[in-house]
Amino acid sequence: MSKDTLKDNVETVDKEAEISIIGNPNVGKTSLFNLLTGTKQYVANWPGVTVEKKIGSFKYKGKTFKLVDLPGVYTLSAKSEDERVAKDYLISNTSEIVIVVADALNLESSMFLLFQLIEIGVKTILVINSVDEARDKGRIIDPSPISKTLNIPVILTSAKTGEGKEELLEEAYKLSKEKNLTKKKIMYPEEIENFINFFQDKVSKYPKISSKYQNYIDSSWLSIYFLEFGSEDLELPKDFLTELKENFDIEELKNKYLNWKFNFISYLVSSSIIKEGIDWSLRDILDHVFTHKILGILIYVFALFAVFSLTFSLAQPLSDLLDSAFTFLGNSISEFVTIPWLESLLVDGVIAGVGGVLVFIPQIFILFFFLGFLEESGYLPRAAFLVDRIARNFGLSGRSFMSIILGFGCNVPAIISTKTIANKKERLALILSLPFASCSARLPVYILLISAFFSTHAATIMLLVYLSSIALVLISSKFLQRFITQSEDIPFIIELPRFRMPTLKNLSIYTWNRGKHFLQKAGGIILIATVLIWLLSFFPNFGTDINSSFAASIGRVFEPLTNHLGWDWRINTGLIFGVAAKEIVVSSYATIFNVGEGSLTYALQNALTPASALALIFFVMAYIPCFATLATIKAETNGWRWAIFSFIYTTVVAYLIANLVFFVGGIFL
C-alpha cells in the first residue's frame, strides 16, 4: 500500500460524521441518544424534556460519530424557541445524517416531519421506536413499504430493550460512507410540480435568496416550504412574492398540496401496518377517569398529597438517624478540640449549620423519587392537560404548568423550559412568576418549621404551601400580563404519553440528578455561608454575647418591618443570607440560635408563634429568587432589567403574603 493510500484510509477512518436525532416530542429521542452514546441524560415520560440540543459521541467500526439530540418538534416551521433550535440547526448546520425517531404506536404524526427532511435532501434514517410496546398491543409493523417508497433505511427499535441498535449503527455507518446521496424524487401532483419548477427558475434570478439558501436551491425544499408555511420565516423579496402571486393561487395550491401529502402519508402508514392491534387498553381505562374535568383535578391534588405524606412518613426516621449522627459528631469534636473559638466554629458553625441542612437529605431524595414517579409514569402531562382550562383564565397554558412542576425541583431549569412557549407575553410573565414555584431548596425550611409547629398536620400544611405556590404563579402571571403588550394566542396541543411503569434506573437517575445539587450546595455555598454567619455572630465580642454581634446588627435593620410579624433579628438574618440559597436559612438558624441541631425545633418554638411561623413559611415560599435563578432570568430576558424587577417584585409580594397569612393565621391558630 502506498503512503498516500494509507493516509487516505486513515483520514477516512478518523473523520468524524455528525448525526442528528429529531422527532416529535416524547417519542424516545433522548432514550435513543443514551442507548447510542452510553450517557445518562434524563429521559422523562412527557414532552419538552429537551429544549436545547445535547451533544454526545460514539464509535462504530473505528469511525467516530458525533450525535446531536434536538428538541422535539412536529414540523420544521418553528414558532417556539425549542422548535427554532431544531430547525436552525438542521438548516444551517452540517449534519451528515438525520435520524428521525417515530413512535410505533403513533407513526402517522412523525411522517410529516420525515417528509420535510426528505424534501430537504439530507441522508435520513427512519427509526420506528417502541416496537416492543406496539407488539404488546398486538400491532405489527412492516418497515419495507416506507423504506422502498421513500428510498431510506427504516429500522425498528426499542430504546428500552436495545432492540435494533446494531442494525441502526450499521445503517448509519453505511450512509456515512456514501458520498453521493441518491435522493428519491417525490412525484407531486402536476400543479405542484409546475409551481416548484417556476419557483426554482425564478429564485435563481435573485442572488440574495440563492446565497442564503444555496444548499437547498437545487432541491424543491424551499418552494415546498413556502407553499406549506408561507414566507414569514424566509425573508423573500417583495417583487419575487408578487411575481409568484400573479402566476399562482397560492392558497389553493397550499390546500392541494396538504391534501395530497395527508393522503400519501395515510396510505404509506396503512400499508406498513400489518396488524392494528387492540383499540383499548389499561391506559384508556385510567385516562377515562384521570382526565375527567372534576375528578382529574381531585386526583391530581390527591397525588400531590400522597407524595408529601410519603415524604414525611418515610423520611422522618431516616432524618432522625442522621440527626443523631451529627449530634454524635459534634460531641466527639467538642471532646477533642480544646481551643474554644475553633470548637465553636466547628461545632456551632459547620456541624450545626451544614448538618442542620443535611439532615433533610432523606426528605429531599424521597420527594424527588415520588415526583419522578409521577413524571415517569406519564401522569404529569395529564395534569397539565387538566390544568390547561384553569391556566387559560390566567393567560397561561398547560405547557406553562409543566414549567411550574419543573420549578418544584429547581427554578433554573423551569425558567429555561419556558423556551417551549411560543407566546412571548405568556413566556415573559411566566419567567417572572416562576420564582414563586416552590423549589426544593426551600424544602428544608418548610420541614423545619412544619415539624416544629404543625407536626400533626405536616403533609396537609405542605400541600397547602405547594397549592398556594401554584396559585401564586398563576395570579402573578395574570397580573404581569396586564403590563406586557405583545400578544398572540397559540393553542396548547399536547400528546398524552402512554402510562409506563417507571424503571428503577430512570427513577434513580431522576432522583440523583435533582438531589445531587443539594449535596453539592451543602459542601459549597452553604458551608461558606455558614462560616460567614458564624464569623458575624462570633465577632466583635468573641461569642460572649450574640445579641451585640454583627449578625444581630444586620438583622435589626429590618426589625421595624418584621416585629409585628413576630420575627426578631435572628429570623431576619437567616432570611437575608437565604438570598444566596434558600437552604442557608436553616443553616443560619442552626448557627444563630446556637443550640445544636437537636433542639433547634424547641428554640424556634420559643422564638415564634404558630402564626408567625406560618407567615415565615409563606414568606420563604415567595421571596427573592436565589442568585442562580436571577442569573437565569437575566440570560433568558437578555438583560438585567427583568432580573432586578424580579428581585424587588418577589420581595414585595412575599412581604404582603406574609402579612396576610399572619393576619388570617392569627384568627385560626
Partner: protein, 125 residues
C-alpha cells in the same frame, strides 16, 4: 365483574364510612376516601360512548384503595425502622379497604382481559 352498580355501591358506602371514621385521625386518609367516594359516585352515570365507563371507575377507585394500603404498610415499616414501636398505630379501616380493593381491582382486570380476548378472537375470525 358483572355487577358493576353493586361494586360501585360497595366502594361508595365503605369509602364514605371510612372517611368519617378517619376524621379525627388522619386528614390524608379523609381526603383520599373522599376522592374514592366521588370516583365511585361518578361511575353510576351512564356514558354510552365508552363501554368500559363503569369498569374504569371501579379500577381507579380500587387502585387508590390499593395505594392507601401500600402507604399504610410503608408507614408502619418505617416507624419500625426508627425503633419507635410504641408509635405504631395500625389503621384497620385502611387495611380492610385495601384488601377489598385488591380483590375488586384484580377481579375487574380479569373481566376486562376476558373482554379483550373475546374482541381479539373476533378480529382474528
Amino acid at each position: 365483574m358483572k355487577h358493576k352498580n353493586l361494586t360501585l355501591s360497595l366502594i361508595a358506602i365503605l369509602s364514605i364510612i371510612f372517611m368519617l371514621l378517619n376524621i379525627q385521625k388522619n386528614f390524608f386518609y379523609v381526603f383520599s376516601f373522599f376522592v374514592i367516594f366521588l370516583i365511585s359516585i361518578y361511575g353510576f352515570s351512564n356514558d354510552n360512548r365508552i363501554w368500559y365507563h363503569k369498569s374504569a371507575h371501579i379500577i381507579v377507585s380500587s387502585f387508590i384503595g390499593l395505594f392507601l394500603l401500600a402507604y399504610e404498610i410503608l408507614d408502619i415499616l418505617f416507624t419500625m425502622l426508627a425503633g419507635e414501636f410504641s408509635e405504631i398505630n395500625l389503621n384497620i379501616y385502611v387495611i380492610i379497604f385495601g384488601i377489598l380493593s385488591i380483590t375488586i381491582f384484580f377481579l375487574e382486570l380479569r373481566y376486562l382481559r376476558k373482554k379483550r380476548n373475546e374482541a381479539l378472537n373476533k378480529e382474528e375470525r
